[in-house]
């Protein structure tokens, strides 16, 4: 146990003012789920014995089958990363002859770069201030004659307006691709995430719910799309010497990464149960605290309880970035939630300039707090007590921060 919370009795005890860190080891917002080592080895043995290390190996096929079943989708295609899975899906789904892609600005920092790799021009849309997610309305405002594709992104907690966005796409004849990277385990009344729209993309980066070292996958009910993407991730080859489709590259998932993902998939229920405990601990610790609001999971449907996001309200005594800096100094690797938003970043490729006031407002208010396999309930107590301490001594901390800066 490395918590020194009892030491934070006075403002000068904060690490940002020179005292020791609350945690000896960093507490991150990454899941870093670790499966049973022997289970990982058992899967590894399968590729090892076959001397088949990549190129659509047995474990990749097993993983794809398991994930399709898990999401209630007909097909799954695995990739070396979510990034290239999304890029390939965008190029495949975008309507030919049209150049714009609709995506939220309050999202993954590389999302506009992905669109640029797919040679599509991002048009950023607003989100709903309550859900932090796109709605049918916010997407609808961006549709025009140039729209080639709609990206629906599930925010870090709960889902976007899946049915609204899908029906909008259908009405306009525009394909819908979901970025479901943070919603592997979620479902809504009409089904599981992974079974909606034209396709849904996921990541198996170590920081995500399903850790495969690096990796990504796509689910779809469209047989043609699945076949096409499976070819494109392998240069477009169908059998030896037979390149049948242009626009391919190498986005293959290797067998070791697939072994890791399979082993973690076996233990997913347990991970979610542990996430739930962590979430409950945050709920308890933050209950009644002034100036801070925990984003609550919609527990009416299945949810992963993975990401812990808080909003700093108007009566929180410190600015969001100052709060993050204080937490970081204690080895709590809290992060600003999607800040700056994409439309505020410098882009050297074509994009549609936009004025997104709701997004600008939201981008200053939220923080991701530590979660995942490394974080214990005791750690969470330490984090919430520290937040309470910051809240209680906010004015003094703010004063001292100014003094420190002046010095």
């Amino acid at each position: 146990m490395n918590i020194r919370i009892s030491a934070k009795e006075q403002v000068q005890d904060l690490s940002c003012f020179g005292d020791g860190r609350l945690f000896a080891e960093p507490k991150s917002t990454s899941s870093l789920a670790q499966p049973d080592f022997n289970r990982f080895l058992q899967y590894s043995k399968k590729f090892f014995d076959r001397q088949h290390y990549t190129n659509n190996g047995l474990l990749v096929r097993m993983l794809e089958e398991r994930l399709a079943e898990f999401h209630g989708a007909r097909f799954c295609v695995a990739f070396c990363s979510g990034f290239w899975g999304l890029t390939l899906a965008m190029t495949s789904l975008a309507l030919k002859g049209k150049g714009e892609i609709i995506l939220p600005s309050l999202t993954y920092r590389r999302m506009a770069d992905i669109a640029a790799w797919a040679r599509l021009k991002p048009r950023f849309c607003e989100v709903d201030p309550n859900t932090l997610a796109q709605t049918r309305q916010t997407v609808s405002e961006c549709i025009n004659a140039e729209t080639a594709l709609i990206i629906g992104v599930h925010p870090i907690v709960n889902c976007c307006d899946i049915e609204g966005i899908v029906s909008l796409g259908t009405e306009h004849g525009i394909p819908v691709l979901f970025d479901a990277v943070e919603s592997v385990y979620e479902s809504i009344g009409t089904g599981k995430v992974g079974s909606f729209g034209d396709a849904e993309c996921f990541s198996m980066h170590a920081s995500k719910l399903l850790n495969g070292f690096e990796g990504g996958y796509l689910t779809t009910n469209n047989a043609e799309l699945a076949h096409q993407l499976a070819l494109m991730r392998g240069y477009g080859f169908e059998g030896q010497d037979n390149c049948v489709i242009a626009g391919g590259l190498n986005a293959k998932l290797n067998e070791i990464h697939a072994a890791m993902a399979l082993a973690n998939l076996d233990e997913l229920e347990q991970l979610v149960a542990e996430n739930r405990q962590r979430y409950r601990q945050y709920q308890t610790g933050l209950r009644g605290m002034k100036g801070i609001r925990l984003l609550e999971f919609d527990e009416a449907s299945k949810t992963s309880y993975k990401n812990i996001v808080v909003e700093l309200l108007d009566d929180w005594p410190l600015k969001r970035d100052a709060t993050v800096a204080i937490l970081n100094a204690e080895n709590i690797l809290a992060r600003a939630y999607y800040s700056p938003p994409l439309h505020q970043k410098k882009m050297s490729y074509p994009f549609v300039p936009s004025n997104l006031q709701v997004t600008d407002y939201l981008a200053k208010r939220f923080i991701l707090l530590p979660c995942g396999d490394f974080v214990t309930c005791d750690d969470i107590d330490g984090i919430t007590q520290l937040l309470k301490f910051i809240q209680a001594h906010g004015a003094e901390i703010a004063r001292r921060l100014v003094e420190t800066e002046v010095k």
Partner: protein, 399 residues
């Protein structure tokens, strides 16, 4: 001889299991387990972890280059290189290469301009670049093929004299030496492949080598590097990261490189020794290098003197469970995505077209030994001696 005992004529296959052509070296189970256990103990899985850092340092030392930047695969590495070098318009490269060389350009919005190759070495024919140049050509991608080299020194002089950028697809070239120094230092960037079929394996993987600090910083930012170096402006980033698992395999593979190279070379010598007596089979020797990884065994089949076409030889050997390949076939300029844009130039690469029709690749690497190579050479020899019987079999079949 009525029944020369070929599987294609109904005999038993020479090998029980299909022999692949690729390298497929991999550490022992014990070493694999120990490496993975280390990762599990550190709980560090990706994002420029300790093993990737260690691998990059070792590669820098081994290759004698200032920056080695590891990536998830060489194709994405080539795409990153074109981005970092800010290439535009058109880039000249040989058509006799793996299609990924050209695809990496297409992904970065660059039009590939295909150049013919030298009939003896299969490497790019520098004398044929001039006729392809116009004011849109911004660079040249040299490709080091078959464990040989494409005369990078001459290419550097050529590109420099014309103000063209130059980089290399060195996917085949890990460990090879030009003038007794490792390939890695030529052009602005060299891109190596660590695919399982290559002499250095990370299952999937690769690395980019450069002596240019500015390019290295850009490449790290485009790859996404989590703290490795100062961020510098780039047009767009990507995910080109190598995981700790990939790095672990590459580190072990680097340890094993001397013995794997030796094995390749000894198998190459058997092929060399046995095939030189067979009319119509020419083994392509690694060109332009003082040291080779010998990771490819490539031959040309001359139908007239061998007595059988390349296609017939392929069919005979595949039936014997030797998974011989027509690598590369067809030429990239005749492949989907490129053939229509090259329509008016389709016939301007006669050497490439000829090699694509006559080349055959034989097994070498982890899954074959000297006995297997002797058996394969024996089979090729018997094919030549029984060419007439086999020919009439294939003629009968095609009817």
């Amino acid at each position: 001889m009525k029944n020369p005992g070929f599987a294609v004529l109904g005999g038993t296959a020479a090998f029980e299991k299909m022999l692949p052509v690729g390298q497929l070296y991999f550490p022992s189970w014990e070493r694999y387990e120990a490496a993975m256990r280390g990762i599990f103990e550190r709980r560090y899985y990706t994002n420029q972890g300790p093993l990737v850092q260690q691998l990059e340092e070792r590669l820098q030392d081994y290759l004698g280059v200032k920056h080695a930047i590891c990536v998830t695969n060489a194709t994405i590495g080539l795409m990153m290189a074109a981005e970092a070098m800010e290439l535009s318009g058109k880039v000249v490269l040989p058509s006799f290469t793996f299609i990924a060389s050209a695809q990496s350009l297409s992904w970065t919005g660059i039009e590939p301009v295909f150049c013919d190759v030298d009939p003896a070495t299969h490497q790019i024919d520098i004398g044929k670049i001039d006729e392809l140049l116009d004011d849109q050509v911004s660079g040249i991608m040299g490709v080091n093929l078959w464990g040989g080299a494409c005369d990078p020194v001459a290419l550097e002089k050529y590109a420099h004299a014309r103000g063209l950028k130059l980089y290399f697809d060195s996917a085949h070239a890990f460990g090879c030496e030009v003038d007794n120094q490792k390939i890695a230092r030529f052009g602005s960037i060299e891109v190596f492949s660590f695919h399982a079929t290559k002499v250095l394996s990370a299952t999937e993987g690769g690395c980019l080598c450069t002596n240019d600090d500015v390019l290295a910083a850009r490449l790290r930012n485009i790859r996404s590097s989590y703290g490795a170096g100062k961020p510098v402006p780039v047009v767009k980033t990507s995910n080109g990261r190598m995981s700790e698992a990939q790095a672990a395999i590459a580190l072990l593979s680097l340890e094993d490189f001397p013995q794997n190279q030796q094995k390749n070379e000894s198998l190459f010598r058997i092929y060399e020794d046995r095939l030189k007596h067979i009319p119509g089979i020419r083994l392509v020797k690694p060109a332009g290098v003082t040291f080779s990884n010998y990771q490819y065994i490539v031959c040309e089949v001359d139908e007239n003197s061998f007595g059988l076409s390349r296609e017939s030889l392929l069919a005979v050997l595949k039936a014997e469970n030797v998974n011989v390949r027509r690598y590369f076939y067809p030429g990239v300029h005749r492949s989907i995505g490129y053939k229509s844009s090259q329509a008016e130039h389709l016939d301007r690469l006669p050497v490439t077209d000829h090699i694509c029709e006559t080349c055959i690749q034989f097994p070498v690497g982890a899954l074959v030994d000297g006995d297997a190579i002797n058996t394969i050479c024996e089979l090729i020899d018997r094919c030549q001696r029984n060419a007439e019987v086999l020919r009439s079999h294939f003629v009968g079949h095609s009817k």
